[in-house]
């Protein structure tokens, strides 16, 4: 069998695996807050996110077509082995941060991995650093801050408009934001599928072009579109419960109005950035929104310790995935045997991370236990009154029984 075919097949396989990890790593972006507020059951939430990601991946191919432009200077000879090595870096970093429950950017991991592999193959001169600073680094600093400010203002406005005095007996109706959360979180999931699903399509196509199997003018092959869309949807449905737990209740206690404000802010930031041509990280935007919404409610608190860990992971994402990408690149330099060795090594690392994660399993069952505690604190006054009536009834009944004796 042709060696180039084997290498390209390996690129396709690892790209789809990256897409899968991207899906479960980023489920939290759209669904952590609706799960935390009790707007959706965990399984329903991830199923909805999977469907919206699947639809989003098919809506246009502009992102896929532009994934590789601007990262390398013109004339750089991109090899399939280089793409493979870059993806290795991205997958490894995604799995490590998933294990730690840290919502880091899958897109930055992908960029970092490809840049690291590019440096190892063709040197620093092949990287378009000016473009990376403008398109990746600066938006990475600004996006979470903008989303946080938007979510903070929106939360303040939502609470001000629905405020009905300090009397707890008067219903504020804030539980109704849960219905809105279905739409706002769907929007975020759709935008995620559009951006991230297409990134993988772009990377696979880049590998196919590098392997000489398609030309630049051929566009994205249909089988690439379908396989990438299915991979990200499957990954999303698998649910990255560790990260959902962090974003849903680890960063701040989120109530329905805050959840709606956070998701609207995330969706708006992605929409605005798409309009102006910025490739924002949905993960960073979503995390910034949760922090902003957490601060926006009177008495709300943000767990700054956790937020600090997340920000630290953001800073490490590019260099760490670049380092793994570069190490992989040196292995793949050895030819097909190197690619096979690299694939075996990455598979072993992935299995090891999954095995270690099983010691402290987080899934749709126990992610809810903490969420339910949070949900109890957002009971509507009607629920509180109904429970009080039921308790009084039970007390009266037992008193009656006691009297008869």
């Amino acid at each position: 069998m042709d060696q180039m075919f084997l290498v390209v097949a390996a690129v396709v396989a690892i790209a789809l695996f990256f897409d899968f990890t991207n899906g479960f790593h980023d489920t939290a972006n759209a669904m952590a807050t609706p799960i935390a507020t009790g707007a959706m059951r965990p399984r329903v939430a991830v199923a909805l996110a999977a469907v919206m990601n699947l639809i989003g991946a098919f809506l246009g191919t502009a992102v896929a077509k532009t994934i590789s432009t601007g990262m390398f200077v013109d004339g750089t000879n991109v090899l399939p082995q280089m793409v493979f090595a870059g993806l290795t870096g991205a997958v490894t970093w995604n799995l490590i941060t998933w294990f730690l429950g840290l919502p880091s950017s899958s897109s930055h991991a992908l960029v970092g991995g490809l840049v690291g592999a590019g440096i190892a193959y063709t040197g620093f001169g092949s990287i378009n650093f000016a473009n990376l600073v403008e398109k990746v680094a600066i938006p990475a600093l600004f996006a979470p801050v903008i989303a946080g400010i938007a979510a903070y203002i929106a939360t303040r406005l939502a609470y001000a408009i629905t405020y009905r005095g300090e009397n707890a007996q008067i219903r504020t109706g804030r539980g109704k934001y849960r219905v809105g959360q279905w739409f706002s979180s769907s929007l975020v999931a759709l935008a995620h599928g559009t951006n991230d699903g297409q990134k993988t399509m772009g990377v696979i196509t880049l590998g196919l072009i590098a392997g000489g199997m398609v030309t630049k003018d051929d566009g994205i092959p249909l089988w690439v579109m379908i396989s990438a869309a299915v991979a990200i949807a499957a990954g999303t449905y698998a649910g990255g419960w560790r990260i959902i737990k962090t974003m849903g209740s680890g960063l701040a206690e989120i109530k329905p109005a805050q959840g709606f404000a956070a998701e609207s802010s995330t969706g708006s930031a992605i929409l605005a950035s798409s309009l102006f041509g910025f490739a924002l990280s949905t993960t960073q935007v979503a995390s910034g929104s949760v922090i902003g919404a957490g601060l926006g409610r009177k008495g709300g608190a943000v767990r700054w310790n956790k937020a600090g860990h997340i920000v630290l992971a953001w800073f490490f994402t590019l260099p760490a995935s670049a380092a793994v990408g570069a190490i992989s690149a040196y292995l793949t330099h050895l030819g097909t045997a190197g690619v096979i060795a690299d694939a075996i090594l990455m598979t072993a690392v992935s299995i090891a991370i999954f095995q270690i994660s099983r010691r402290n399993k987080v899934n749709h069952k126990n992610v809810r236990s903490e969420v339910e505690i949070a949900a109890e604190s957002v009971k509507s006054p009607r629920q509180v009154r109904a429970e009080a009536r039921a308790a009084a009834k039970a007390a009266a009944k037992s008193a009656k029984k006691g009297g008869k004796k």
Partner: protein, 87 residues
Amino acid sequence: MNIDWTKFYEVALGAIGFTAVVVVVYSLGVRLLTNAQHVAPAAAKGDAKAARTELYNRVAAYACFAVAFVALAYGVFLMFDKMYNSK
């Protein structure tokens, strides 16, 4: 390196403005629908004024929800329109 800072400001203002509009409109809907629910028991007992208040608040609330939904849908439309036209 030539960074276009104006674009960043526009993204920031666009994101904050759009979020505020959607959340304010939806929150008004929540407030009005809750108003309607507050007077619903009186309306059910035959109070004509309460019935009118309930009806007006309910209609206005659903109008607000519809506007918020249309705003979200318009945002999605703009995003995909831009993506297709930027080929």
